[in-house]
Symmetry: C2
Subunit: 449 residues, 2 copies
Amino acid sequence: MSESIAQEQSDLNLEHIMNDLDSNALYDARGHLHGLLPAEIALLLSSLPIDYRNQVWSIIAPEMMGAVLVILQGEVRTGLIEQATAQNLIDATSDLDINDLAILVGDFPAVVRDKVLERKGDSRLETALSYDGRTAAGVMDLNVLTIKADLTVDAVLQYLRGQSKIAANMDSLIVVDEHDKYRGMISVSTLLISDTHLVISTLMELEKAISLNMALPDVALLFEQREILSAAVVDEENVVKGRVSIDDVLDIVRDEAEHVVLSSAGLDEEHDLFSPVLVSARRRAVWLAVNLFTAFLASWVIGLFEATIEQIVALAVLMPIVASMGGIAGSQTLTLVIRGLALHQISSSNAMKFLAKEVSIGLVNGTVWSIVVASLAGMWFSNIPLGMMLGGAMIINLCCASFAGVLIPLFLQKKGIDPALAGGVLLTTVTDVIGFMSFLGLATIFLIN
Amino acid sequence: MSESIAQEQSDLNLEHIMNDLDSNALYDARGHLHGLLPAEIALLLSSLPIDYRNQVWSIIAPEMMGAVLVILQGEVRTGLIEQATAQNLIDATSDLDINDLAILVGDFPAVVRDKVLERKGDSRLETALSYDGRTAAGVMDLNVLTIKADLTVDAVLQYLRGQSKIAANMDSLIVVDEHDKYRGMISVSTLLISDTHLVISTLMELEKAISLNMALPDVALLFEQREILSAAVVDEENVVKGRVSIDDVLDIVRDEAEHVVLSSAGLDEEHDLFSPVLVSARRRAVWLAVNLFTAFLASWVIGLFEATIEQIVALAVLMPIVASMGGIAGSQTLTLVIRGLALHQISSSNAMKFLAKEVSIGLVNGTVWSIVVASLAGMWFSNIPLGMMLGGAMIINLCCASFAGVLIPLFLQKKGIDPALAGGVLLTTVTDVIGFMSFLGLATIFLIN
């Protein structure tokens, strides 16, 4: 994983701007910003500590602001909107199309929002604001060019030539009937190579349309399974309302991936990397509190065996090994199941087969490592029975860890709780409690007289 | 996270097939397979335990096999290739285009590969096999349609109409000069709406081309930052060699995301969910071995304080709390940094500012939770000084955890080691060692006389 050229470039942008601001060279900073793409400025802003960020924001041209805000997400976006004047925001949005506006105005102060909506005067915008962002409706393009199924290729080509502007990323056109109901899709390449006298309905593909309320992961799967670049979005009456294209799907996949990684540490992708210390501390505290509860639970289990530990202090020295190895083995299984659920590879039909496999792996690795651990610990403390207890506890914990690693995420999914969020904590609770209990319990039974 | 419709559908496919095979109803199984898309069959196969999978594979029509193998990855693919006869493989590949062939034949047995290469007789195929899969060359489409810059729109449209077939996902065409050197891109929509007498060179966009050896994450970033759907791939002489399109980028992003999640648990995305128990056990054992080393290190630290624990057994009861809270706080920071590095948000310019922020958070949360923990532990053991030692150790460990969470991934990245792979283990080592050492050390200094 060596540094990439793109990495070097964005590092350089950041370094230049921070140096400029440190030396109060605003003119130079403006020069550095000039020539950057909106996406590059967005990355730069989200990488800057807040005071630097606000300074950069104040020297960005209003016509660039809109494009940058559309790319930014979450707190960074709302923070910058707060920093901008009402007039800045109105100027920033004047060049935006209706989709970008729909993304932004929801975050605007009410007064500015009303002004923008009024000026745009497009009823679709208000409808768009009511759509659920987690559905196809929330990401679809509202500007759709549809063509009638009974036209000839020639008529369509002439019609297109009459348009002053069509989306640059247009790979195919949506075909509708006379009531604007969805019929199919025709790729632009088909239009280009087909006999111009042919009628569209004979050339179009009968691709499935997406319903307004289709969940985003389903939208992504549909695109990947069907290898399409765009799809029509229709309402319950099959009337075309918008179009989802593969660049939206790319955002969906990125967001999902971010979510899985961050939520496993109790974090949220909407949060600013540089949000104020107290705000961040409070947010992270929630996760620490949850974990404190499980840590105390583990301590309570250890506390049950105080008398045993008093007699054999070596137990206290060795007990973290059992808990930690169980945690590692369990998290391997858990990770596979969370991924399997996300990819739709694991379901009730094959879960038991998978469980059997994982528990067997736990048994094999538990046995192998218990021999290693038992020998090492037996030698360290010159106490063979102690080593045997450690080894026995490890077999128990690795098997239980495999069980928990499969069953916890399946259970959470069934209860409608995100396994990526809660799976890790629950698993650690199980492997800690069983790890300590099995080791100290075995020792109490066999080593204490 | 309720079950999606797509999830239900794939669960149903799996259930039906497994039931059919369990009751030996191969004819029904064939019926269920019929009508599924290649991607659906690929998902089904990768979700099946190996014995079921091989049965399904044996009843899939050879003309479907090729398309399914192209979608599958890693071990599942190589396993199925092993199961197929040479003739099956040759039949399976007869309909595939040169890109799909390039993906597959590398995994074929040498004899079959030679036969396929010979029959196809396309020198590009052998060149493609030599490309590095982690670069643009490894994913690019070899079938490129280029047009000359000095043609008129009309000439291009006529030329296209003369082609029997163009890629359905074509959003734009690559423009070259008379020596096949890259000049720019022209979107199909521009072709459609422009005056037919205009010359291509006046209409094309001067988009950057991608070099053959550009790393895949850079390719993805380029597409996202420039909001393009396809780009030309050129060699050092600027000659067009292929084309990358956004569906390739979608695969890149998915693979990267998978890799981050899986490698954090020492797993590999190439592996089969249902690989044999002993094979899986051996693979997972590596990660367990690494972690065993760190667990013994932590035990060794505890061992240094045996005499102290002998006097105050409550220390053994409470010590996992310090280690575990440090691990949680550190992993929050680590996760943010790994993500920040992947998104190019964190670099040497802003790392110190971020470190200062994270350590402050550690200090705030360390203080807050140390008060909670100290009070709880003090009451539990009716021992206020003991509680204070616990609280003090927790402040120390949470601050160190923040430090480690920032510096470990930065260090690994600099050394060319994937932070997602090794970051977690190193962090846990630090938080365990410092957690146990600070708590037991403080107790030895202040509580033992």
